[in-house]
């Protein structure tokens, strides 16, 4: 199989300034044929960008903005003047649905929300350089559930003085000292609603 086949379908969508396809960027540096094809797509993009549309001018857009505002105002007036006989029934139905959704959410186990998770991660990365948030450590890829599981494992390890392995997602955490793990747990306990609830 020609190695270029792997990249052909990605050439048109490749943005050189983006870093999302480093694999393709490396291939382009090495492969003259693919580089030429990529250049042809860039040239086509420029040609397309040069296809200008007629500019109707500022006045046109001012009139259009006024027309939009007028249309909204007219619809508002028309809406207010109508008797909404169906409104009470709709409100009742909405209340039932909202009640059901609220009940379902209440039954769910509380989870660490994304901002809290990010906050925890930030704390961890700043804590005396204990944890390095650089890619490769894998911390930024951890889901709240993984983070929680990890914390539980650390907890057990601290309680039992267990020297056994931490779960796979722990990465370099295995090398953390006891006090470092305790600080991490303390912060997790502060940020996790589930843990706060249990406390």
């Amino acid at each position: 199989m020609n190695p270029c086949d792997l990249y052909h379908d990605r050439l048109a969508a490749f943005a050189p300034e983006g870093e999302e396809d480093r694999d393709l960027a490396r291939h382009l540096e090495a492969c003259r044929a693919c580089r030429a094809e990529f250049q042809s797509y860039l040239a086509l993009t420029e040609e397309l960008q040069e296809l200008s549309l007629p500019d109707p001018g500022d006045l046109y857009f001012q009139i259009q903005a006024k027309a939009i505002a007028r249309q909204i105002a007219e619809e508002d007036r028309a809406g207010r003047s109508q008797r909404r006989w169906w409104a009470p029934s709709l409100a009742l139905a909405a209340a039932v649905v909202l009640l059901f959704i609220g009940f379902s959410r209440f039954r769910e186990t509380p989870r660490i929300s994304e901002p809290e998770w990010r906050e925890a991660l930030q704390f961890l990365s700043e804590e005396e350089g204990v944890l390095d948030p650089e890619p490769g450590l894998g911390l930024e890829d951890l889901s709240p559930e993984q983070l929680e599981r990890l914390a539980t494992n650390i907890e057990q390890r601290l309680q039992q003085g267990d020297e056994g392995d931490l779960p796979e997602e722990s990465g370099d955490w295995d090398e953390l000292s006891g006090p470092e793990l305790e600080r991490l747990l303390q912060r997790l306990n502060e940020t996790s609603p589930r843990r706060q609830h249990e406390a």
């Binding site: 993009t45 259009q64 903005a65």
Partner: protein, 172 residues
């Protein structure tokens, strides 16, 4: 709550009406229809503003509404495909040859753009003319980033192939 603040909304209209108008014009090719779609887009956005959840940028959200309205408009009216010969005269005086060649190339590309399947045309319009990232295009079209990239690839490949034919002045 955002809805209800007409003055703030008017500022949003002024900020985004050009991108929305040009997107609609790119899709529909008829200025009056593009104007109609632009107005409808903002009225619809105003009504739905309270439900806007900031999961995408406001522009992405507006483009999604505009694209949907363009689709409806395109379904309502079967638009005649403009023939290349409508734009380029067959004859040609020698002194106008260069200018005609440029016009021919431009018209050829525009005609090729017109020939793209609707979804590919939408992706090209959002990517090339609105300069939106693929992930935002995916949100606007309720698709996946991979699918959008595949559509873009097919569109660009088709356009390039058609453009290469122009060297031989083959009819589209």
């Amino acid at each position: 709550m955002l809805a209800g603040s007409t003055e703030a909304f008017n500022r949003l209209v002024k900020r985004y009406q050009r991108p929305v108008y040009y997107l609609a014009l790119r899709m529909l090719r008829v200025p009056e229809d593009a104007d109609d779609v632009t107005q409808k887009t903002f009225v619809k956005a105003y009504r739905a503003l309270a439900g806007f959840r900031f999961e995408s940028s406001f522009k992405t959200w507006l483009c999604a509404i505009a694209i949907n309205l363009c689709r409806t408009e395109l379904m309502k009216t079967k638009r005649p495909t403009e023939e290349l010969s409508d734009r380029i005269s067959d004859g040609g005086f020698e002194e106008r040859q260069a200018a005609e060649e440029r016009a021919y190339q431009k018209a050829h590309l525009e005609a090729a753009l017109e020939r793209l399947p609707p979804r590919q045309k939408e992706v090209v319009a959002l990517r090339i003319y609105q300069e939106m990232p693929f992930k935002d295009i995916a949100k606007a079209l309720k698709s996946t980033e991979t699918a959008v990239k595949v559509n873009f690839h097919h569109a660009m490949k088709s356009l390039r192939d058609w453009i290469q034919k122009k060297v031989h002045h083959e009819p589209l």
